[in-house]
Subunit: 254 residues, 2 copies
DNA sequence: ACCTAGTTACTGGTCAGACCAGCGACTAGC
DNA sequence: GCTAGTCGCTGGTCTGACCAGTAACTAGGT
Protein backbone atom coordinates (compact mmCIF):
# COMPACT_ATOMS: atom_id res chain seq x y z
CA UNK A 1 0.00 0.00 0.00
CA UNK A 2 2.53 2.56 1.16
CA UNK A 3 5.93 2.73 -0.40
CA UNK A 4 8.97 3.07 1.82
CA UNK A 5 10.09 6.67 1.83
CA UNK A 6 13.82 6.03 2.21
CA UNK A 7 15.88 8.65 3.95
CA UNK A 8 17.24 11.20 1.55
CA UNK A 9 20.52 12.89 2.09
CA UNK A 10 21.09 16.59 1.52
CA UNK A 11 23.59 16.16 -1.28
CA UNK A 12 21.18 13.85 -3.09
CA UNK A 13 18.56 16.52 -3.21
CA UNK A 14 21.16 18.94 -4.56
CA UNK A 15 22.26 16.47 -7.23
CA UNK A 16 18.68 15.92 -8.20
CA UNK A 17 17.92 19.58 -8.69
CA UNK A 18 21.02 20.31 -10.74
CA UNK A 19 20.57 17.12 -12.75
CA UNK A 20 17.01 18.08 -13.48
CA UNK A 21 18.04 21.57 -14.55
CA UNK A 22 20.48 20.07 -17.03
CA UNK A 23 18.18 17.39 -18.39
CA UNK A 24 15.32 19.83 -18.77
CA UNK A 25 17.56 22.14 -20.79
CA UNK A 26 17.39 24.92 -18.24
CA UNK A 27 21.16 24.61 -18.05
CA UNK A 28 22.76 24.15 -21.43
CA UNK A 29 26.24 22.79 -22.13
CA UNK A 30 28.72 25.61 -21.76
CA UNK A 31 26.70 27.36 -19.10
CA UNK A 32 28.23 27.93 -15.71
CA UNK A 33 26.82 27.16 -12.31
CA UNK A 34 27.29 29.69 -9.52
CA UNK A 35 30.30 29.16 -7.30
CA UNK A 36 30.13 26.64 -4.49
CA UNK A 37 29.70 29.29 -1.84
CA UNK A 38 26.76 30.80 -3.63
CA UNK A 39 25.18 27.39 -4.16
CA UNK A 40 25.47 26.94 -0.41
CA UNK A 41 23.24 29.95 0.07
CA UNK A 42 20.76 28.96 -2.62
CA UNK A 43 20.33 25.36 -1.50
CA UNK A 44 20.65 26.26 2.17
CA UNK A 45 23.00 23.38 2.90
CA UNK A 46 26.59 23.20 4.04
CA UNK A 47 29.47 23.46 1.64
CA UNK A 48 30.40 19.81 2.05
CA UNK A 49 26.98 18.76 0.84
CA UNK A 50 27.26 21.02 -2.18
CA UNK A 51 30.73 19.71 -2.88
CA UNK A 52 29.70 16.07 -2.64
CA UNK A 53 26.87 16.79 -5.04
CA UNK A 54 29.24 18.50 -7.47
CA UNK A 55 31.68 15.58 -7.24
CA UNK A 56 28.93 13.16 -8.19
CA UNK A 57 27.78 15.25 -11.11
CA UNK A 58 31.37 15.64 -12.19
CA UNK A 59 31.97 11.89 -12.05
CA UNK A 60 28.88 11.43 -14.18
CA UNK A 61 30.47 13.72 -16.72
CA UNK A 62 27.83 16.40 -16.43
CA UNK A 63 30.09 19.06 -14.97
CA UNK A 64 33.64 20.21 -15.34
CA UNK A 65 35.23 22.07 -12.46
CA UNK A 66 38.26 24.24 -13.06
CA UNK A 67 39.99 25.44 -9.91
CA UNK A 68 40.58 29.14 -9.69
CA UNK A 69 38.26 30.16 -12.45
CA UNK A 70 35.79 32.80 -11.28
CA UNK A 71 33.16 31.38 -13.60
CA UNK A 72 32.21 28.37 -11.52
CA UNK A 73 31.59 24.78 -12.59
CA UNK A 74 30.85 24.43 -16.28
CA UNK A 75 28.09 22.24 -17.70
CA UNK A 76 29.75 19.69 -19.92
CA UNK A 77 28.74 19.09 -23.50
CA UNK A 78 29.03 15.33 -23.39
CA UNK A 79 29.18 12.86 -20.58
CA UNK A 80 30.59 10.10 -22.75
CA UNK A 81 33.75 9.91 -20.70
CA UNK A 82 31.80 9.08 -17.57
CA UNK A 83 29.82 6.45 -19.39
CA UNK A 84 32.96 4.88 -20.74
CA UNK A 85 34.46 4.78 -17.31
CA UNK A 86 31.50 3.03 -15.79
CA UNK A 87 31.27 0.57 -18.64
CA UNK A 88 34.93 -0.11 -18.28
CA UNK A 89 34.41 -0.86 -14.62
CA UNK A 90 31.57 -3.16 -15.44
CA UNK A 91 33.61 -5.06 -17.97
CA UNK A 92 36.35 -5.57 -15.44
CA UNK A 93 34.23 -6.55 -12.46
CA UNK A 94 32.08 -8.91 -14.49
CA UNK A 95 35.09 -10.36 -16.20
CA UNK A 96 33.67 -9.82 -19.67
CA UNK A 97 35.99 -11.24 -22.28
CA UNK A 98 37.45 -9.61 -25.35
CA UNK A 99 35.56 -12.13 -27.43
CA UNK A 100 32.23 -11.01 -26.05
CA UNK A 101 33.05 -7.39 -26.78
CA UNK A 102 34.19 -8.07 -30.30
CA UNK A 103 31.11 -10.15 -30.91
CA UNK A 104 29.02 -7.31 -29.68
CA UNK A 105 30.80 -4.88 -31.90
CA UNK A 106 30.15 -7.12 -34.86
CA UNK A 107 26.46 -6.97 -34.08
CA UNK A 108 26.24 -3.23 -33.51
CA UNK A 109 28.68 -2.35 -36.26
CA UNK A 110 26.95 -4.39 -38.88
CA UNK A 111 23.62 -2.89 -37.95
CA UNK A 112 25.09 0.60 -38.22
CA UNK A 113 26.49 -0.16 -41.64
CA UNK A 114 23.24 -1.64 -42.80
CA UNK A 115 21.21 1.34 -41.69
CA UNK A 116 23.76 3.73 -43.14
CA UNK A 117 23.51 2.00 -46.49
CA UNK A 118 19.75 2.42 -46.50
CA UNK A 119 19.43 5.94 -45.11
CA UNK A 120 22.55 7.68 -46.34
CA UNK A 121 22.43 10.91 -48.29
CA UNK A 122 25.07 12.02 -50.76
CA UNK A 123 26.45 14.34 -48.11
CA UNK A 124 27.09 11.41 -45.79
CA UNK A 125 28.82 9.54 -48.56
CA UNK A 126 30.98 12.54 -49.27
CA UNK A 127 32.00 12.81 -45.61
CA UNK A 128 33.04 9.16 -45.58
CA UNK A 129 35.07 9.51 -48.74
CA UNK A 130 36.73 12.63 -47.46
CA UNK A 131 37.82 11.03 -44.20
CA UNK A 132 39.06 7.92 -45.95
CA UNK A 133 41.06 9.87 -48.51
CA UNK A 134 42.64 11.86 -45.73
CA UNK A 135 43.59 8.58 -44.07
CA UNK A 136 45.12 7.36 -47.28
CA UNK A 137 47.17 10.54 -47.50
CA UNK A 138 48.37 10.41 -43.91
CA UNK A 139 52.10 10.05 -43.76
CA UNK A 140 53.49 7.01 -41.93
CA UNK A 141 54.17 7.58 -38.27
CA UNK A 142 51.43 10.10 -37.64
CA UNK A 143 49.33 7.64 -35.69
CA UNK A 144 47.40 10.34 -33.93
CA UNK A 145 46.09 11.83 -37.11
CA UNK A 146 45.29 8.43 -38.55
CA UNK A 147 43.34 7.39 -35.48
CA UNK A 148 41.47 10.69 -35.44
CA UNK A 149 40.43 10.31 -39.05
CA UNK A 150 39.37 6.76 -38.45
CA UNK A 151 37.05 7.95 -35.71
CA UNK A 152 35.79 10.63 -38.10
CA UNK A 153 35.08 8.02 -40.74
CA UNK A 154 33.08 5.87 -38.39
CA UNK A 155 31.32 8.94 -37.11
CA UNK A 156 30.16 9.70 -40.62
CA UNK A 157 28.69 6.23 -40.91
CA UNK A 158 27.06 6.56 -37.53
CA UNK A 159 25.51 9.85 -38.60
CA UNK A 160 24.14 8.24 -41.71
CA UNK A 161 22.62 5.39 -39.73
CA UNK A 162 20.31 7.92 -38.14
CA UNK A 163 20.42 6.25 -34.74
CA UNK A 164 22.33 8.33 -32.20
CA UNK A 165 22.10 5.60 -29.62
CA UNK A 166 23.78 3.14 -31.92
CA UNK A 167 26.49 5.70 -32.43
CA UNK A 168 27.00 6.11 -28.73
CA UNK A 169 27.25 2.43 -28.00
CA UNK A 170 29.58 1.78 -30.91
CA UNK A 171 31.91 4.51 -29.74
CA UNK A 172 31.95 3.27 -26.19
CA UNK A 173 32.52 -0.32 -27.21
CA UNK A 174 35.42 0.42 -29.44
CA UNK A 175 37.00 2.44 -26.65
CA UNK A 176 36.41 -0.46 -24.29
CA UNK A 177 38.12 -2.84 -26.64
CA UNK A 178 41.08 -0.53 -26.91
CA UNK A 179 41.17 -0.32 -23.13
CA UNK A 180 41.13 -4.07 -22.83
CA UNK A 181 44.01 -4.69 -25.19
CA UNK A 182 45.98 -1.50 -25.15
CA UNK A 183 49.34 -3.05 -25.79
CA UNK A 184 48.38 -5.40 -28.60
CA UNK A 185 46.49 -2.65 -30.35
CA UNK A 186 49.38 -0.27 -30.15
CA UNK A 187 51.75 -2.73 -31.68
CA UNK A 188 49.37 -3.33 -34.52
CA UNK A 189 48.79 0.31 -35.18
CA UNK A 190 52.39 0.99 -35.96
CA UNK A 191 52.53 -1.67 -38.62
CA UNK A 192 52.44 -0.17 -42.04
CA UNK A 193 50.50 -2.90 -43.79
CA UNK A 194 47.60 -2.49 -41.45
CA UNK A 195 47.04 1.09 -42.42
CA UNK A 196 46.47 0.33 -46.03
CA UNK A 197 44.25 -2.59 -45.13
CA UNK A 198 42.12 -0.20 -43.09
CA UNK A 199 41.79 2.14 -46.01
CA UNK A 200 40.93 -0.68 -48.37
CA UNK A 201 38.24 -2.02 -46.11
CA UNK A 202 36.82 1.45 -45.95
CA UNK A 203 36.87 1.64 -49.73
CA UNK A 204 34.83 -1.51 -49.99
CA UNK A 205 32.46 -0.32 -47.31
CA UNK A 206 31.91 3.03 -48.97
CA UNK A 207 31.14 1.30 -52.21
CA UNK A 208 28.58 -0.97 -50.59
CA UNK A 209 26.94 1.95 -48.86
CA UNK A 210 26.94 3.95 -52.07
CA UNK A 211 25.17 1.07 -53.80
CA UNK A 212 22.69 0.90 -50.93
CA UNK A 213 23.67 -2.74 -50.61
CA UNK A 214 22.80 -3.36 -46.98
CA UNK A 215 23.75 -7.00 -46.87
CA UNK A 216 27.22 -6.31 -48.23
CA UNK A 217 27.77 -3.31 -45.97
CA UNK A 218 26.87 -5.22 -42.85
CA UNK A 219 28.86 -8.27 -43.91
CA UNK A 220 31.95 -6.12 -44.35
CA UNK A 221 31.71 -4.90 -40.76
CA UNK A 222 31.45 -8.42 -39.41
CA UNK A 223 34.17 -9.85 -41.60
CA UNK A 224 36.59 -7.01 -40.95
CA UNK A 225 36.23 -7.25 -37.21
CA UNK A 226 36.51 -10.99 -37.31
CA UNK A 227 39.67 -10.93 -39.37
CA UNK A 228 41.20 -8.30 -37.18
CA UNK A 229 40.62 -9.92 -33.83
CA UNK A 230 40.44 -13.63 -34.53
CA UNK A 231 44.07 -14.27 -33.74
CA UNK A 232 43.66 -12.85 -30.28
CA UNK A 233 40.86 -15.24 -29.35
CA UNK A 234 40.75 -18.89 -28.45
CA UNK A 235 38.98 -21.47 -30.59
CA UNK A 236 35.69 -21.39 -28.71
CA UNK A 237 35.43 -17.63 -28.93
CA UNK A 238 36.29 -17.71 -32.60
CA UNK A 239 33.50 -20.17 -33.18
CA UNK A 240 31.05 -17.81 -31.55
CA UNK A 241 32.09 -15.00 -33.81
CA UNK A 242 31.77 -17.21 -36.84
CA UNK A 243 28.14 -17.76 -36.04
CA UNK A 244 27.59 -14.12 -36.86
CA UNK A 245 29.43 -14.28 -40.14
CA UNK A 246 26.81 -16.55 -41.59
CA UNK A 247 23.96 -14.75 -39.93
CA UNK A 248 21.92 -12.08 -41.63
CA UNK A 249 23.48 -12.03 -45.06
CA UNK A 250 20.51 -12.91 -47.24
CA UNK A 251 22.29 -12.76 -50.55
CA UNK A 252 25.20 -14.95 -49.59
CA UNK A 253 22.62 -17.62 -48.88
CA UNK A 254 21.40 -17.64 -52.43
CA UNK B 1 57.89 14.40 -25.65
CA UNK B 2 56.60 14.89 -22.12
CA UNK B 3 52.97 14.35 -21.35
CA UNK B 4 51.17 16.93 -19.26
CA UNK B 5 50.92 15.68 -15.73
CA UNK B 6 47.59 17.29 -14.86
CA UNK B 7 47.03 18.25 -11.26
CA UNK B 8 45.49 15.43 -9.32
CA UNK B 9 43.21 15.99 -6.44
CA UNK B 10 43.39 14.08 -3.19
CA UNK B 11 40.00 12.43 -3.53
CA UNK B 12 40.89 11.27 -7.03
CA UNK B 13 43.84 9.34 -5.74
CA UNK B 14 41.62 7.80 -3.10
CA UNK B 15 39.01 6.82 -5.69
CA UNK B 16 41.70 5.32 -7.83
CA UNK B 17 43.10 3.12 -5.10
CA UNK B 18 39.74 1.80 -3.97
CA UNK B 19 38.59 1.32 -7.55
CA UNK B 20 41.72 -0.62 -8.30
CA UNK B 21 41.26 -2.79 -5.24
CA UNK B 22 37.77 -3.68 -6.42
CA UNK B 23 38.64 -4.29 -10.05
CA UNK B 24 41.65 -6.38 -9.14
CA UNK B 25 39.47 -8.55 -6.95
CA UNK B 26 41.27 -7.60 -3.79
CA UNK B 27 37.92 -6.37 -2.56
CA UNK B 28 35.08 -8.69 -3.44
CA UNK B 29 31.37 -7.86 -3.52
CA UNK B 30 30.01 -8.11 -0.02
CA UNK B 31 33.26 -7.06 1.60
CA UNK B 32 33.32 -3.99 3.77
CA UNK B 33 35.67 -1.06 3.67
CA UNK B 34 36.97 0.39 6.94
CA UNK B 35 35.00 3.29 8.34
CA UNK B 36 35.58 6.77 7.00
CA UNK B 37 37.63 7.84 9.98
CA UNK B 38 39.95 4.89 9.60
CA UNK B 39 40.30 5.51 5.87
CA UNK B 40 41.31 9.05 6.79
CA UNK B 41 44.25 7.64 8.73
CA UNK B 42 45.20 5.11 6.07
CA UNK B 43 45.11 7.53 3.15
CA UNK B 44 46.42 10.40 5.24
CA UNK B 45 43.90 12.86 3.86
CA UNK B 46 41.05 14.81 5.39
CA UNK B 47 37.69 13.31 5.96
CA UNK B 48 36.07 15.44 3.27
CA UNK B 49 38.42 14.01 0.69
CA UNK B 50 37.59 10.47 1.76
CA UNK B 51 33.91 11.28 1.73
CA UNK B 52 34.02 12.81 -1.74
CA UNK B 53 35.80 9.72 -2.96
CA UNK B 54 33.21 7.46 -1.38
CA UNK B 55 30.39 9.52 -2.89
CA UNK B 56 31.87 9.06 -6.35
CA UNK B 57 32.31 5.34 -5.92
CA UNK B 58 28.81 5.12 -4.57
CA UNK B 59 27.38 7.01 -7.54
CA UNK B 60 29.20 4.59 -9.81
CA UNK B 61 27.39 1.80 -8.03
CA UNK B 62 30.52 0.23 -6.62
CA UNK B 63 29.72 0.93 -2.98
CA UNK B 64 26.70 1.02 -0.75
CA UNK B 65 26.84 3.10 2.40
CA UNK B 66 24.48 2.41 5.25
CA UNK B 67 24.42 5.04 7.97
CA UNK B 68 24.89 3.83 11.49
CA UNK B 69 26.16 0.41 10.61
CA UNK B 70 29.47 -0.36 12.30
CA UNK B 71 30.57 -2.39 9.30
CA UNK B 72 31.47 0.49 7.02
CA UNK B 73 30.73 0.91 3.32
CA UNK B 74 29.90 -2.32 1.52
CA UNK B 75 31.28 -3.29 -1.86
CA UNK B 76 28.32 -3.70 -4.19
CA UNK B 77 27.69 -6.75 -6.31
CA UNK B 78 26.46 -4.95 -9.39
CA UNK B 79 26.65 -1.40 -10.57
CA UNK B 80 23.88 -1.74 -13.11
CA UNK B 81 21.78 0.91 -11.41
CA UNK B 82 24.50 3.50 -11.86
CA UNK B 83 24.91 2.58 -15.47
CA UNK B 84 21.21 2.87 -16.10
CA UNK B 85 21.15 6.26 -14.48
CA UNK B 86 23.95 7.60 -16.64
CA UNK B 87 22.45 6.17 -19.79
CA UNK B 88 19.16 7.68 -18.87
CA UNK B 89 20.85 11.02 -18.50
CA UNK B 90 22.47 10.62 -21.86
CA UNK B 91 19.22 9.80 -23.55
CA UNK B 92 17.63 12.89 -22.12
CA UNK B 93 20.43 15.36 -22.81
CA UNK B 94 20.96 14.11 -26.32
CA UNK B 95 17.25 14.03 -27.00
CA UNK B 96 17.33 10.45 -28.21
CA UNK B 97 13.91 9.42 -29.42
CA UNK B 98 11.84 6.42 -28.47
CA UNK B 99 12.10 5.26 -32.06
CA UNK B 100 15.88 5.13 -31.89
CA UNK B 101 15.78 3.12 -28.70
CA UNK B 102 13.26 0.66 -30.02
CA UNK B 103 15.26 0.29 -33.19
CA UNK B 104 18.30 -0.42 -31.12
CA UNK B 105 16.45 -2.96 -29.07
CA UNK B 106 15.35 -4.68 -32.24
CA UNK B 107 18.98 -5.00 -33.25
CA UNK B 108 20.31 -6.20 -29.92
CA UNK B 109 17.31 -8.35 -29.13
CA UNK B 110 17.35 -10.14 -32.42
CA UNK B 111 21.06 -10.81 -32.06
CA UNK B 112 20.51 -12.21 -28.58
CA UNK B 113 17.77 -14.49 -29.83
CA UNK B 114 19.87 -15.64 -32.72
CA UNK B 115 22.83 -16.49 -30.56
CA UNK B 116 20.60 -18.16 -28.00
CA UNK B 117 19.12 -20.36 -30.71
CA UNK B 118 22.58 -21.47 -31.76
CA UNK B 119 24.24 -21.88 -28.39
CA UNK B 120 21.42 -22.95 -26.09
CA UNK B 121 21.59 -26.07 -24.00
CA UNK B 122 18.57 -28.06 -22.87
CA UNK B 123 18.91 -26.44 -19.46
CA UNK B 124 18.52 -23.00 -20.99
CA UNK B 125 15.47 -24.14 -22.87
CA UNK B 126 13.98 -25.54 -19.69
CA UNK B 127 14.55 -22.25 -17.85
CA UNK B 128 12.73 -20.38 -20.60
CA UNK B 129 9.80 -22.75 -20.58
CA UNK B 130 9.58 -22.61 -16.84
CA UNK B 131 9.46 -18.83 -16.73
CA UNK B 132 6.91 -18.67 -19.51
CA UNK B 133 4.64 -21.26 -17.94
CA UNK B 134 4.78 -19.34 -14.69
CA UNK B 135 3.76 -16.24 -16.62
CA UNK B 136 0.85 -18.09 -18.17
CA UNK B 137 -0.27 -19.18 -14.72
CA UNK B 138 0.00 -15.73 -13.16
CA UNK B 139 -3.38 -14.51 -12.02
CA UNK B 140 -4.66 -11.25 -13.52
CA UNK B 141 -3.74 -8.17 -11.53
CA UNK B 142 -0.44 -9.42 -10.20
CA UNK B 143 1.57 -7.17 -12.47
CA UNK B 144 4.63 -7.31 -10.29
CA UNK B 145 4.96 -11.04 -10.55
CA UNK B 146 4.29 -10.97 -14.27
CA UNK B 147 6.93 -8.34 -14.89
CA UNK B 148 9.43 -10.21 -12.75
CA UNK B 149 8.89 -13.43 -14.64
CA UNK B 150 9.20 -11.60 -17.93
CA UNK B 151 12.59 -10.35 -16.86
CA UNK B 152 13.48 -13.88 -15.82
CA UNK B 153 12.46 -15.20 -19.22
CA UNK B 154 14.61 -12.73 -21.05
CA UNK B 155 17.42 -13.37 -18.63
CA UNK B 156 17.31 -17.04 -19.58
CA UNK B 157 17.66 -16.13 -23.25
CA UNK B 158 20.47 -13.76 -22.44
CA UNK B 159 22.27 -16.49 -20.55
CA UNK B 160 21.91 -18.82 -23.49
CA UNK B 161 23.30 -16.21 -25.86
CA UNK B 162 26.59 -16.53 -24.03
CA UNK B 163 27.38 -12.84 -24.29
CA UNK B 164 27.18 -11.10 -20.93
CA UNK B 165 27.68 -7.73 -22.53
CA UNK B 166 24.70 -8.22 -24.78
CA UNK B 167 22.72 -9.12 -21.71
CA UNK B 168 23.77 -5.99 -19.94
CA UNK B 169 22.92 -3.67 -22.79
CA UNK B 170 19.58 -5.32 -23.43
CA UNK B 171 18.61 -4.94 -19.81
CA UNK B 172 19.61 -1.33 -19.69
CA UNK B 173 17.83 -0.49 -22.91
CA UNK B 174 14.57 -2.04 -21.92
CA UNK B 175 14.73 -0.13 -18.65
CA UNK B 176 15.44 3.02 -20.60
CA UNK B 177 12.44 2.48 -22.79
CA UNK B 178 10.26 1.94 -19.78
CA UNK B 179 11.65 5.14 -18.30
CA UNK B 180 10.87 7.03 -21.45
CA UNK B 181 7.27 5.97 -21.69
CA UNK B 182 6.32 5.08 -18.17
CA UNK B 183 2.69 6.05 -18.47
CA UNK B 184 1.91 4.41 -21.79
CA UNK B 185 3.59 1.21 -20.70
CA UNK B 186 1.68 1.08 -17.48
CA UNK B 187 -1.63 1.44 -19.22
CA UNK B 188 -0.74 -1.36 -21.56
CA UNK B 189 0.46 -3.66 -18.82
CA UNK B 190 -2.89 -3.74 -17.14
CA UNK B 191 -4.67 -4.83 -20.27
CA UNK B 192 -5.51 -8.46 -20.16
CA UNK B 193 -5.15 -9.22 -23.84
CA UNK B 194 -1.55 -8.11 -23.80
CA UNK B 195 -0.54 -10.65 -21.24
CA UNK B 196 -1.60 -13.58 -23.29
CA UNK B 197 0.00 -12.07 -26.37
CA UNK B 198 3.27 -11.88 -24.44
CA UNK B 199 3.03 -15.52 -23.50
CA UNK B 200 2.20 -16.53 -27.06
CA UNK B 201 5.13 -14.65 -28.47
CA UNK B 202 7.32 -16.37 -25.96
CA UNK B 203 5.90 -19.72 -27.02
CA UNK B 204 6.82 -19.05 -30.60
CA UNK B 205 10.26 -17.85 -29.59
CA UNK B 206 10.95 -20.89 -27.45
CA UNK B 207 9.97 -23.10 -30.32
CA UNK B 208 12.31 -21.36 -32.71
CA UNK B 209 15.16 -21.54 -30.23
CA UNK B 210 14.44 -25.21 -29.56
CA UNK B 211 14.64 -25.85 -33.31
CA UNK B 212 17.90 -23.92 -33.43
CA UNK B 213 16.24 -21.79 -36.08
CA UNK B 214 18.26 -18.61 -35.75
CA UNK B 215 16.55 -16.69 -38.51
CA UNK B 216 13.12 -17.30 -37.05
CA UNK B 217 14.21 -16.54 -33.50
CA UNK B 218 15.73 -13.22 -34.47
CA UNK B 219 12.81 -12.32 -36.70
CA UNK B 220 10.40 -12.86 -33.83
CA UNK B 221 12.28 -10.36 -31.69
CA UNK B 222 12.14 -7.72 -34.38
CA UNK B 223 8.53 -8.32 -35.32
CA UNK B 224 7.33 -8.41 -31.72
CA UNK B 225 9.01 -5.17 -30.83
CA UNK B 226 7.80 -3.54 -33.99
CA UNK B 227 4.21 -4.58 -33.42
CA UNK B 228 4.33 -3.48 -29.84
CA UNK B 229 5.71 -0.01 -30.36
CA UNK B 230 4.70 0.99 -33.86
CA UNK B 231 1.59 2.85 -32.78
CA UNK B 232 3.62 5.12 -30.55
CA UNK B 233 5.88 6.29 -33.36
CA UNK B 234 5.44 8.63 -36.27
CA UNK B 235 5.55 7.50 -39.87
CA UNK B 236 9.22 8.27 -40.43
CA UNK B 237 10.30 6.36 -37.34
CA UNK B 238 8.12 3.44 -38.31
CA UNK B 239 9.77 3.33 -41.69
CA UNK B 240 13.15 3.09 -40.05
CA UNK B 241 12.07 0.16 -37.97
CA UNK B 242 10.65 -1.56 -41.01
CA UNK B 243 14.08 -1.52 -42.59
CA UNK B 244 15.14 -3.97 -39.94
CA UNK B 245 12.19 -6.25 -40.48
CA UNK B 246 13.35 -7.10 -43.94
CA UNK B 247 16.98 -7.21 -42.98
CA UNK B 248 18.67 -10.43 -41.99
CA UNK B 249 15.85 -12.88 -42.34
CA UNK B 250 17.20 -15.19 -45.00
CA UNK B 251 14.31 -17.60 -45.09
CA UNK B 252 11.59 -15.00 -45.45
CA UNK B 253 13.41 -13.87 -48.56
CA UNK B 254 12.99 -17.21 -50.21
C1' DA C 1 47.50 56.75 -25.39
C1' DC C 2 49.32 52.20 -24.73
C1' DC C 3 51.45 48.27 -22.62
C1' DT C 4 53.31 45.92 -18.59
C1' DA C 5 53.57 44.42 -13.75
C1' DG C 6 51.71 44.03 -9.43
C1' DT C 7 47.66 43.86 -6.49
C1' DT C 8 43.32 41.95 -5.15
C1' DA C 9 39.21 39.43 -4.83
C1' DC C 10 37.59 35.74 -6.06
C1' DT C 11 37.72 30.39 -7.26
C1' DG C 12 38.05 25.34 -5.94
C1' DG C 13 40.80 21.94 -2.82
C1' DT C 14 41.69 20.58 1.67
C1' DC C 15 41.66 20.09 6.49
C1' DA C 16 40.17 20.06 11.44
C1' DG C 17 36.70 20.02 14.66
C1' DA C 18 32.18 19.79 16.11
C1' DC C 19 27.37 18.02 16.51
C1' DC C 20 23.47 14.91 15.36
C1' DA C 21 20.70 10.61 14.51
C1' DG C 22 20.87 5.90 14.06
C1' DC C 23 22.58 1.17 14.56
C1' DG C 24 24.39 -2.68 17.43
C1' DA C 25 26.54 -4.75 21.08
C1' DC C 26 27.13 -4.86 25.82
C1' DT C 27 25.28 -4.58 30.44
C1' DA C 28 22.50 -3.94 34.46
C1' DG C 29 18.09 -4.91 36.28
C1' DC C 30 13.87 -7.51 36.34
C1' DG D 1 16.82 -15.93 31.10
C1' DC D 2 14.87 -12.03 29.14
C1' DT D 3 14.22 -7.14 28.69
C1' DA D 4 15.66 -2.28 28.70
C1' DG D 5 18.89 1.06 28.95
C1' DT D 6 23.60 2.63 28.00
C1' DC D 7 27.59 3.44 25.30
C1' DG D 8 30.58 3.53 21.43
C1' DC D 9 30.65 3.41 17.15
C1' DT D 10 28.72 4.68 12.25
C1' DG D 11 27.66 8.05 8.44
C1' DG D 12 25.56 12.89 7.52
C1' DT D 13 26.08 17.59 8.08
C1' DC D 14 27.76 22.10 9.17
C1' DT D 15 31.23 25.67 10.26
C1' DG D 16 35.38 28.01 9.84
C1' DA D 17 39.80 28.18 8.37
C1' DC D 18 43.80 28.09 5.15
C1' DC D 19 46.12 27.35 0.62
C1' DA D 20 47.13 27.72 -4.31
C1' DG D 21 45.62 29.09 -8.18
C1' DT D 22 43.04 32.31 -11.76
C1' DA D 23 41.65 36.53 -13.86
C1' DA D 24 40.43 41.00 -13.77
C1' DC D 25 41.64 45.41 -12.30
C1' DT D 26 44.93 48.99 -11.33
C1' DA D 27 48.99 51.64 -11.03
C1' DG D 28 53.26 52.29 -13.08
C1' DG D 29 56.31 53.27 -16.92
C1' DT D 30 56.76 54.30 -21.71
Amino acid sequence: MFKPVGRSRAFERVVEQIEQAIYSGELKPGDHLPSERILVEQFEVGRSSVREALRILESMGLLITTPGSPLGPKVSASNQAGLLRMMSGFVQTQGISLGALVQYRMIAGSAANFLASQLRTDEHLEAMREANEAMRATEPGDEDRFARLDVQFHQAIADASGNPFLTLVNTVISDLIVDLMMSAYHQAETEQGLWSSFVEHHDALIEAIADRDGARASAIARQTLYDFYRDLLDAEEQRRLELLLIHSTPDTNA
